[in-house]
């Protein structure tokens, strides 16, 4: 019996506060699960952006698993803050390299995952994959590998990976989520299947999170069911009015159902406030300047 089954699912569906609550609870679990529970606890803090808690609480004497989690916190903090901490980031990367230099660490799943994540953030997909492929049937590693493949637009590889995973991962929630991620790139019937996966997850009351709502909404958008998508997104917005993904998807769906420009612009402004560095906004800026440059070429003298 997997003691952390519930906790894991809470984490994957983005119920971070609940992960923190449960992770700090005193219910007795086995020794190995205790460490893992701690890892999820700190990772949940990181997901909430509370890097400092993690950085101060994890000591150098803690096991490597926790120390890499701290490393991630340091890294993400340096990334989100201003340019001044560029050196700090370099340091963390260096430290990571040192950790990975130890072969014992290389087969540690937590190390693999955290390394994969840091490299992903840095766009070093090759490095990330190199670490991750060493995993020993760890679903989270698979999830990262798949995201990298998808990011690299290698749907074929992602599909192959998922087929291989299915032989041992059965019906775990994360495995299903991965299937949905790939399905949304595949299209056709897979859209519907992805929707089912998210809907099924959403059925349990604890996992009706912004993240899952977004998943459902995205599936609906791809299926052409815009009004449904919009209502899901508005529900998500009610739960958290500063979730960047919700806002981006709302912009998309508003455009698709022909909402007035003011509405769309309001969401964009909101997005600019909460996540000025969001990929969507970067893309938008890029395209705006691209437009101006290109239009210039055709303009009549």
């Amino acid at each position: 019996m997997d003691e952390l089954f519930g906790l894991r699912n809470l984490f994957y569906t983005g119920s971070f506060q609940q992960v923190i609550n449960e992770g700090s609870s005193r219910t007795s679990v086995s020794e190995s699960a205790k460490l893992e529970r701690k890892i999820y606890l700190y990772r949940a803090y990181i997901a909430q952006g509370k890097h400092n808690i993690v950085i101060t609480e994890i000591k150098d004497s803690d096991p490597i698993d926790l120390r890499v989690v701290k490393l991630l916190a340091v890294f993400l903090q340096s990334k989100s803050s201003s340019q001044a901490s560029e050196t700090k980031k370099e340091e963390t990367l260096k430290e990571l390299k040192e950790i990975l230099g130890d072969t014992a660490n290389l087969s540690n799943a937590t190390v693999q995952i955290i390394a994969g994540m840091i490299y992903y953030h840095e766009g070093l997909f090759e490095d990330a994959l190199k670490v991750l492929v060493r995993h020993n049937r760890n679903l989270e590693c698979v999830a990262l590998i798949i995201q990298i493949y998808l990011q690299l637009d290698r749907l074929d590889l992602a599909k192959r990976e998922i087929a291989a995973t299915k032989t041992w991962a059965e019906d775990a929630m994360l495995a299903q989520l991965i299937e949905a991620w790939v399905g949304l790139r595949t299209g056709g019937d897979k859209y519907q299947e992805a929707y089912y996966i998210y809907e099924e997850i959403a059925q349990s009351p604890s996992s009706n999170t912004v993240k899952v709502l977004n998943g459902q909404a995205v599936c609906n958008i791809h299926l052409g069911r815009y009004p449904e998508a919009e209502s899901l997104l508005l529900e998500a917005l009610n739960k958290n009015n500063s979730d960047p993904d919700t806002l981006v998807n709302l912009i998309v769906v508003s455009n698709l159902i022909g909402k007035p420009t003011e509405v769309v612009n309001r969401y964009i402004t909101q997005l600019k406030e909460v996540a000025p560095n969001h990929v969507f906004l970067q893309d938008l800026d890029l395209k705006t300047s691209l437009f101006d440059r290109s239009a210039q070429r055709f303009a009549l003298a």
């Binding site: 997997d2 089954f5 519930g6 990772r43 997901a47 991630l72 993400l76 994540m117 992903y120 953030h121 999830a143 990262l144 798949i146 998808l150 990011q151 690299l152 637009d153 290698r154 059965e170 019906d171 991620w181 949304l184 299209g187 056709g188 859209y191 299947e193 089912y196 099924e200 059925q203 349990s204 977004n214 998943g215 995205v218 958008i221 791809h222 299926l223 052409g224 993904d245 981006v248 998807n249 912009i251 998309v252 455009n255 698709l256 022909g258 769309v264 990929v279 893309d283 938008l284 395209k287 705006t288 691209l290 437009f291 101006d292 290109s294 239009a295 070429r297 055709f298 303009a299 009549l300």
Partner: protein
């Protein structure tokens, strides 16, 4: 097949038959006698004697008072059991007659004999004779019986019609088919023969072989094409009547079967064997069904049907003939609304399920079920949209499968599971074990909770999934989501089905009742049933159900009682009150219920009987009602009870009254004492005196402290010593002396006088208010008391009234009138008309100066379905490329390139296709298109989201054909943007309208259409926009010319004239013509004005406009000339130059905009088109691709 009951039968009885309507049965046996019994009185009524050997079978006629008997004496006899005589003897068989039966409708008898024949007899003669008037005189009946006797020998009443030969041994049984001209017979040759007959002859149809010993009996299934037989080989066999093949065999170990019969109405059979009899049914009668929202999915006669509770429509959707074999009814049905799929389980082949998808539309002919997925399993249910669970009972394994029937997971439950049920959530299942129901988490493979129950056969969830009813054979357990039991209900009669009412009441059916259960355990009968039904839905007063024939039925019930109880339990007193007021809910049951449940105050309102009312009133402390009823009854015990209760409450006035009524003087006195009511006490004293009640007098005087009275009393009753003592102690010396004297004693005679006496004096009442009560105990007044007191006369709820406010459709537009006042007589002066577009009242705009009824219609001309489609251009696939790059590869449309973010190539395409050079106005459209094409999904925690690309052909997975979604679509443009622009035009906001039309032109550049016909429509739309933009710009320009100088007037008039040549909608064209007409008329250009008037009239304008036009025409024709010569030739077709607004007549040289095709004078070549604001005039182009 199941045995319903077994009992034993002893004695030499061979044949039995019940009368179809009366409480009679007839028996025949080895005593040669036929006996008729009344089974209610359990008495033999009489015997019919005549047979000379064993009687084998006896039967009643369905209509006449006849009994048919077959005997070993080789005869068949017909008896009249009313006259108790034998009316016919059928002779002809030359061996034992084993069986003789009437035809169910016709005047025929069939008999089977050991002489190896089956005979059919015609008894119409007998019937005719007996069809005489019922009032028969004694003589007549005498005569008749004589005649009958004569006929016995003449044999005219009953003649052999056919002799059926074919059996090789003796025939044991023969019977008619209930409706068809068929006979089935069974014989010692181990065969069952099927015979057919017509008016002229009868012949053997076929033989069923299979029994391996003498066949005792055979009969036709009353409703199905089956023959059932039983035999001495210890089997009962079922045969297909048309194919004459063996369908089923039921074997008993030790008992040979001798006789067989079918129930006249129910689907039951009985067979007698060596040790008794068994009653059985051949098949399950419960139709497989499932309810989803407003639809019932059920199987009837091997068709899956859908019944709509709301519309009562009932359609056959799918033929499921192939499931489970011909004779096996499907057992259960599970429906998946998302995929419109069903799973049907049968018990055939040890249990199997079939998964089907339903057709999209439920109309037309039912489809043959195809694409079915099948597998073994005893129970299968959908648990999620794309998952179902299957139980394999033998292996005790639950498999979770996806819709392609692939197993995704399998679970081995810890307990023995008989059946699985839905538990409302995708990862939960209910498992029914022999002793409990388990809520099982499939994901975590663990038991969530368990509830002990007798074996559960069905599970019914309430619509909000908060409660579940677990139905066993004789129990109902109601529990919540997590299987916490809220009640357990036992029934002595078998429970059949159930459904939840919306209010949370469980309505269920037993074999013969519809009942209800509240979740705290109260239950009761709603109504009785003639035959079992399976409830499917409870909706208000209607219970929807399926009967055993699989027909949908609606049974109306009175839900008042259970609603009332539910409201009580939920303390929803308003509703209780409403029910009490609005319904005629009465009866001892409800009163007893209320009393038992502690609601005497409510019960009070149901009761008219004074005694009960009194009891209830006392119970709930309602002293007023108690008093009222006590008065009405005026019974001693009531008054006493009332007195006690009133005393408890401290209501001494009522207590007084109660005591007065029952003449309880002692208590009355006491109450007067304690209330300090001396007046009344004195009265009591007098009363006591009158009553001659010395004791009472004494009390009262004691209470009053009236010593004299006491002394007097004591004297009166001869208690002189006491009187003396009293007088002495109170210092009434004289009186004491007098007593002594009268007694003949002196003071000296009195010795040992008590010395320790104290003066006894009743306290003086300080507060005397006998008229007012004491402070009363507070009696808790329930909601109902006050409700009944205060509002008994008020109507419960005043009907909601609505005030219809008439929207002021009439008062439209205040500031009509404008700059172009007409100069002629007032007859045609302005009148404000309704300006309506699509029924909507519009404010009058500043632009149009004329009033008219307008109706804008364009939709029909242009709108057509726009659907996504694919384009024929193929690009070789590249793997690993970004989807947006695929889009660029896959499409020649600028829109798709924009969506992919490749603005550069998009611009190139537009430049090539329509000569586009000015992209600035397209910027927002580009960005919007780009923005709408990708979603962002956070995948792994703490990683940036992944980008997903939205396709407009979501069903496509071939990368060579995927195309992006486009936010602009043609249909929307036509149905909303264009209409909006027309409306703005009508309102006269020309500048806004121009912007809107131009916006349409820009949007069109970023659409895609799928059909060729739509391409033409797009071109039409471009043309419409162009005409309007050109026309509206001219109109705007005209307004800038003040009509002060001839030059300006000329220019204005010309522009107005050109405007009338733009291809506008008829309504707008009329407006432009009116404008041109009035302008010209005012400028005294009568000729031109008249011409415009004529053109206007040709368009059949509204009445008022027409009148105006005619007036202008008439007036203008008087002075047929123009003041100002215009540069305008109405007969020569022309386009107006978009820049200079000069007409370019046909044939003159011009240049065009490559996109909107607006015409320009040649000198404008190379400039930016002013109409669409995008393309370069006269540029080379290949044409827009959409």
């Amino acid at each position: 097949m199941k045995t319903i009951n077994v009992w034993f039968f002893l004695g030499p009885v061979r044949g039995i038959a019940f009368h179809p309507t009366q409480p009679l049965f007839v028996s025949g046996g080895d005593d040669y006698k036929i006996k008729v019994w009344n089974y209610k009185t359990r008495k033999c009524l009489f015997s019919l004697n005549g047979h000379l050997d064993y009687v084998r079978t006896v039967f009643f006629h369905h209509e006449y008072p006849w009994i048919l008997s077959a005997s070993d004496d080789q005869t068949i006899r017909i008896w009249n059991w009313q006259s108790r005589t034998c009316i016919a003897i059928l002779t002809g068989h030359n061996h034992y007659v084993m069986c003789a039966q009437f035809h169910p409708k016709e005047d025929l008898v069939v008999s089977a004999s050991l002489d190896q024949t089956v005979r059919v007899w015609d008894i119409s003669g007998l019937r005719k004779k007996n069809a005489a008037p019922s009032s028969v005189s004694f003589d007549d009946s005498l005569h008749k019986s004589a005649a009958t006797q004569a006929d016995i020998f003449g044999s005219t009443d009953a003649i052999v019609k056919y002799v059926l030969e074919g059996h090789d041994r003796g025939v044991n049984w023969a019977t008619f088919h209930p409706t068809l001209p068929l006979i089935v017979s069974a014989g010692d040759d181990r065969q069952i023969k099927l015979w057919r007959m017509n008016d002229a002859k009868a012949w053997e149809v076929d033989t069923c072989r299979g029994h391996f010993n003498n066949v005792s009996a055979a009969l036709f299934h009353p409703r199905q094409e089956l023959i059932i037989s039983d035999a001495e080989d210890k089997t009962i066999r079922v045969w297909d009547m048309s194919k004459r093949t063996l369908v089923q065999t039921f074997r008993r170990e030790h008992d040979r079967f001798w006789v067989l019969t079918a129930h006249p109405e129910l689907n039951l059979f009985a067979a007698g064997h060596d040790n008794g009899l068994i009653v059985f049914k051949l098949e399950r009668e419960r139709p497989a069904y499932a309810v989803h929202q407003n639809s019932l999915y059920y199987i009837k006669d091997k068709y899956l049907r859908v019944f709509d509770f709301a519309s009562n429509s009932d359609v056959s959707v799918l033929s499921v003939r192939k499931i489970g074999g011909q004779y096996m009814q499907p057992r259960s049905l599970s429906y998946n609304p998302a995929e419109r799929a069903v799973i049907i389980t049968t018990t055939a082949d040890g249990g199997s399920f079939d998964l089907f998808h339903l057709p999209k539309e439920f109309n037309g002919e039912p489809r043959e079920a195809s694409d079915g997925k099948r597998g073994p399993g005893t129970s299968a249910i959908f648990i999620a949209r794309n998952r179902f669970a299957v139980l394999d009972k033998a292996r005790q394994q639950i498999e979770i499968r996806d819709l392609s029937n692939a197993t995704t997971k399998s679970v081995k439950p810890s307990a023995t599971v008989n059946e699985i049920f839905n538990a409302g959530s995708s990862n939960l299942l209910l498992l029914s074990t022999p002793t409990s129901v388990i809520l099982y988490d499939i994901q975590q493979r663990q038991v969530v909770s368990e509830i002990n129950t007798p074996p559960v056969k069905y599970v019914v969830w309430s619509s909000d999934h908060s409660q579940v009813a677990l139905l066993g054979k004789h129990t109902i357990t109601i529990a919540n989501k997590t299987l916490e039991e809220s009640c357990l209900i036992h029934e002595t009669i078998r429970i059949k089905s159930g459904a939840w009412d919306d209010g949370g009441i469980f309505v269920y059916s037993t074999l013969n009742h519809i009942k209800y259960a509240l979740s705290q355990g109260d239950n009761g009968i709603i109504r009785t049933l003639d035959q079992p039904v399976y409830l499917t839905k409870v909706k208000g007063k209607n219970v929807h159900c399926l009967d055993r024939d699989g027909k949908t039925r609606v049974i109306s019930i009175d839900p008042m009682e259970y609603r009332f109880k539910l409201a009580l339990i939920k303390r929803n007193y308003d509703e209780v009150l409403q029910i009490i007021r609005s319904s005629n809910l009465v009866g001892q049951a409800i009163i007893a219920y209320l009393q038992k449940k502690g609601y005497p105050e409510i019960a009070l309102h149901f009761v008219r009987d004074d005694k009960t009312r009194f009891d209830l009133a006392v119970e709930c402390g309602n002293i007023e009602v108690a008093l009222e009823t006590a008065k009405a009854m005026d019974r001693e015990d009531c008054w006493n009870t009332l007195g006690v209760e009133a005393l408890r409450q401290g209501n001494h006035q009522i207590v007084e009254m109660a005591y007065q009524r029952v003449k309880n003087f002692d208590r009355l006195s006491f109450i007067y004492l304690v209330t300090g009511n001396l007046e009344k006490l004195k009265k009591m004293l007098k009363i006591a005196e009158l009553r001659n009640d010395h004791m009472s007098r004494f009390h009262n005087s004691l209470f009053l402290g009236d010593v004299e009275e006491r002394v007097r009393l004591l004297k009166e009753v001869g208690q002189l010593p006491l009187a003396y003592l009293t007088a002495q102690s109170y210092g009434l010396v004289e009186e004491a002396e007098a007593i002594l004297t009268s007694a003949g004693l002196t003071a000296d005679d009195i010795t040992d006088m008590p010395t320790n006496g104290q003066l006894l004096k009743p306290p003086t009442p300080i507060l005397k208010h006998p008229d007012s009560n004491w402070p009363l105990l507070t009696v808790q007044r329930s909601f109902f008391d006050s409700a009944f007191i205060t509002t008994d006369s008020n109507p419960l709820a005043a009907p909601l009234s609505f005030n219809d406010t008439n929207e002021g459709l009439d008062d439209v537009g205040g500031d009509w009138g404008g700059d172009d006042d007409l100069g002629f007589n007032g007859a045609t002066e302005k009148a404000v008309d309704d300006l309506r577009i699509d029924g909507e009242a519009l404010e009058e705009g500043s632009g149009w100066d004329i009033d008219a009824d307008l109706n804008v219609q364009l939709n029909n001309e242009i709108s057509q379905e726009l659907s996504n489609g694919t384009h024929g251009e193929f690009v070789p696939p590249t793997s690993g490329t970004n989807e947006s790059e695929l889009w660029i590869h896959n499409s020649p449309l600028a829109a798709d390139h924009v969506a992919a973010g490749s603005f550069e190539t998009a611009m190139q395409l537009l430049n090539r296709q329509v000569g586009a050079v000015n992209f600035e106005p397209l910027k927002s459209h580009f960005l919007k298109t780009f923005q709408a094409t990708r979603t962002y999904l956070s995948c792994n925690v703490s990683l940036p989201p992944l980008v997903y690309y939205i396709r407009r052909n979501p069903e496509e997975i071939e990368t060579r054909r995927v195309l992006p979604i486009l936010p602009y679509n043609f249909q929307n443009i036509v149905s909303s943007q264009l209409q909006e622009a027309y409306k703005t035009t009508t309102l006269g906001k020309f500048q806004d309208a121009t912007i809107q039309f131009r916006n349409i032109l820009h949007s069109i550049l970023l659409i895609s259409v799928s059909k060729k016909s739509e391409v033409d429509e797009v071109n039409q739309l471009i043309e419409v926009c162009r005409e309007y933009i050109v026309g509206l710009s001219m109109e705007q320009m005209r307004r800038k010319y003040p009509l002060d100088s001839p030059e300006n007037t000329k220019k204005a008039l010309e522009l107005a004239a050109y405007f009338t040549h733009c291809r506008l909608q008829p309504a707008h064209l009329q407006l432009s013509l009116r404008s041109a007409m009035t302008l010209n008329y005012k400028a005294k250009n009568c000729l031109t004005a008249s011409m415009f008037a004529r053109r206007l009239l040709e368009l059949a304008p509204p009445q008022q406009v027409a009148t105006q036009a005619r007036q202008i025409q008439t007036l203008s024709d008087k002075t047929p000339r123009d003041e100002i010569t215009l540069d305008y030739d109405q007969y020569n077709p022309f386009n107006v130059c978009g820049i200079s607004n000069i007409p370019i007549y046909k044939g003159s040289s011009s240049v065009e905009c490559p996109y909107c095709h607006a015409s320009y004078l040649p000198e404008h070549q190379g400039k930016l088109c002013t109409v669409c604001d995008v393309s370069q005039i006269g540029a080379n182009s290949t044409g827009l691709k959409v």
